[in-house]
């Protein structure tokens, strides 16, 4: 049982890694690599770190910043050509509605980027190292956008990194804590301890309630999707059902929606081995999803498309198995 728990914790750690590399896939962003924070401006890479020297001395940060104060952004080029390219640096308030999942496409959709901009440094060729000092006036959600123009092709490469100042929200932590508790609970359940303590019925009921309370909460515009699985983290190569719960951000349960589910592994460029379907609407915003199966461990994305009278939206659920 202990080795099983170790596996579960490993899965959780992997989930951290996946979530921190979230914004990188398409256009570039900030990721942790070998304990170093790296910004990827397309194929161009630089060490990336942020300091709040006046308040926090030599402490360095990768993205989120503890407080609204003087902040020094440092990019140490890992690719020589960055020292010859005009680079501009923009910080905007995160008005994308996508939180920390905002990407370049979301930036492109902003009508008036200047009014959202709190800091802009025009393109400049900075040999050796790129430095910006900005005094944040207020806490909140921001997006950093670094653009570099290729001197020969004129092509512009960009990196987008959403971050928080003042840790106003809770970031990923409720999600992590929820996952941690679920895993611990699953362990207790599997090891039989919970049954010995509580009896089977109570245990199963508690599992469902805990699952409902703690399973990942994902936002799509104004819709909130939660899901529960019978065994906590889905078992590999075992077909099973999910219960998907949909409500809006005011707590109104969404009924009568057309719900489609797709999924796959982006890294392996393949989909689910099955074609899962919503087979029943259970009421109170609950939908029964049957035919879920995962045929390998790794990083999966499940995309839930929801169509109501008010329109359509998609919610992506990341899963590390």
């Amino acid at each position: 049982m202990i080795s099983r728990r170790a596996v579960l914790y490993y899965q959780l750690i992997s989930l951290f890694a996946v979530l921190f590399s979230w914004d990188v896939s398409a256009h570039g962003g900030v990721v942790e690599e070998d304990d170093l924070c790296v910004i990827k401006v397309n194929y161009l890479r630089a060490h990336f770190k942020v300091y709040q020297p006046g308040a926090l001395g030599h402490e360095q940060y990768c993205e989120d910043l503890p407080m609204a104060t003087e902040s020094v952004f440092v990019m140490e080029y890992l690719h020589d050509s960055l020292s010859e390219m005009p680079i501009d640096f923009r910080i905007i308030r995160n008005v994308t509605g996508k939180g920390r999942f905002a990407r370049m496409e979301d930036i492109d959709l902003i009508d008036d980027i200047d009014s959202a901009t709190v800091f802009y440094r025009a393109p400049v060729v900075e040999p050796d190292i790129y430095l910006v000092n900005y005094q944040f006036a207020e806490e909140g959600d921001f997006i950093g956008i670094v653009s570099a123009r290729h001197p020969n092709t004129g092509k512009i490469y960009a990196a987008v990194f959403p971050f928080e100042v003042g840790f106003t929200g809770l970031g990923y932590w409720p999600f992590f804590i929820g996952m941690l508790m679920l895993i611990q609970f699953q362990y207790l359940l599997m090891s039989g301890r919970l049954k010995r303590w509580l009896g089977k019925e109570v245990a199963v009921a508690t599992c469902v309630i805990l699952g409902l309370l703690l399973s990942p909460v994902l936002f799509a515009e104004n819709l909130v999707v939660t899901y529960t699985t019978p065994d906590g983290n889905p078992e590999i190569n075992k077909m099973h059902d999910w219960i998907v719960h949909i409500e809006n951000d005011e707590g109104l349960k969404i009924e009568g929606a057309i719900v489609d589910v797709e999924g796959g592994m982006p890294k392996h460029n393949h989909g689910l081995p099955t074609k899962p379907l919503i087979t029943a609407e259970l009421g109170s915003g609950d939908y029964k999803l049957e035919g879920m199966r995962f045929h390998m461990s790794g990083y999966w994305e499940i995309v839930i498309s929801i169509t109501t009278d008010n329109g359509s939206s998609k919610v992506m659920i990341p899963l590390q198995l």
């Binding site: 020094v72 140490e76 040999p127 050796d128």
Partner: protein, 393 residues
Amino acid sequence: MSSEFLKLVVLLAAFGLFISACDRGSSQAPEWTDAEVTTLKSLWLESLPDLPDDPSNAVANNAIAAEFGRKLFFDVRLSANGGVSCSTCHQVARRFTDGLKKARALGLSDRNTPSIVGSQYSPWQYWDGRRDSQWAQALAPLENAHEHGTNRAQVVDTVFGDADYRMTYEALFGPLQDTAGSDAFELNTAFANIGKSIAAFERTIMPTTSRFDEYVAALVRGGAQREILSADEIAGLRLFINEASCTQCHNGPLLTNHEFHNTGLLNFPGDVPDKARAGGVREVFGSEFNCRSIYSDDSAGFCPELDFARTGIELIGATKTPSLRNLEHTAPFMHKGQLSSIADVLDHYNKAPDAMIGHNEAEPLGLNIAELHQLEAFLATLAAPVSALGVEL
């Protein structure tokens, strides 16, 4: 059992002998190893070589030029508002510094005012070494908007508008040519000559014998050392040349290697971190008054410092090692005056935090508070008056 007991007795006896030996050692003059004596002599002011030649400055060792330069150094007419001279920031009473974090004249400068004492021995001027001679350095503040805020034409006009100055100049450099010429060569030559005269004065600004130097002299010549330095100061000196690794950079009689090092200092509030030497080396290559320029008096054009100057990203955040002589009256310290006292500086090196940019070359020292106090006590023994034109100031 009895053999165990015997072992214990022998060990205790050995320990007792060791303690008494140490005790005796501390009650006598400290023993320095031959290697340590060699190191101490290398730091001794008497080991300072003769003034290095400056072939780029024909009047470098000219007494008339030095006296002319002294007058120029203190002359507030060489400024946009008639209120700023070299001595505004390089104040004699503060060992040629100004007591400010960053220099302030007409405006606020980017960096802390470095002392002039001993700078004639350095191949590089400024914290980032962006000039390669004292005379080229002396010209830059005159035209800096935050410092003297004037320009070379005004400087030359001012000098030639003063009858005494004009006479001295023409005695040194010959008659003034038409500086309004289209190619600016004559103007730049006259401007450079003014810098060379200031440098001739600055070359005479020297440290004088400190208590540390007296101690080494006594050590070398067999005098009474114990009255010169206290036990704490000697302990600090021992740390300085050994565990604290200070002499890695602060070596030689001026206690500087004249080189550039990143020691992981924080940025000055509101500024981005200082790239320092990475930018300075680029600037000195482009400087119109550098060793290779037509305004250098060295017809051979021999410029090894420029020819072999190190460049590259390892110089990011590296600033020139300052001399540790005459630290008295020169606080605050470091290139932006980030650290207000010697205790703060020692604490910084004791921790050796990660650098904001580049890499901190220093390693944490792990010294305790008593040892830091001893180091501070030793550094104070390097205090001494300075001299200029052979006169103690």
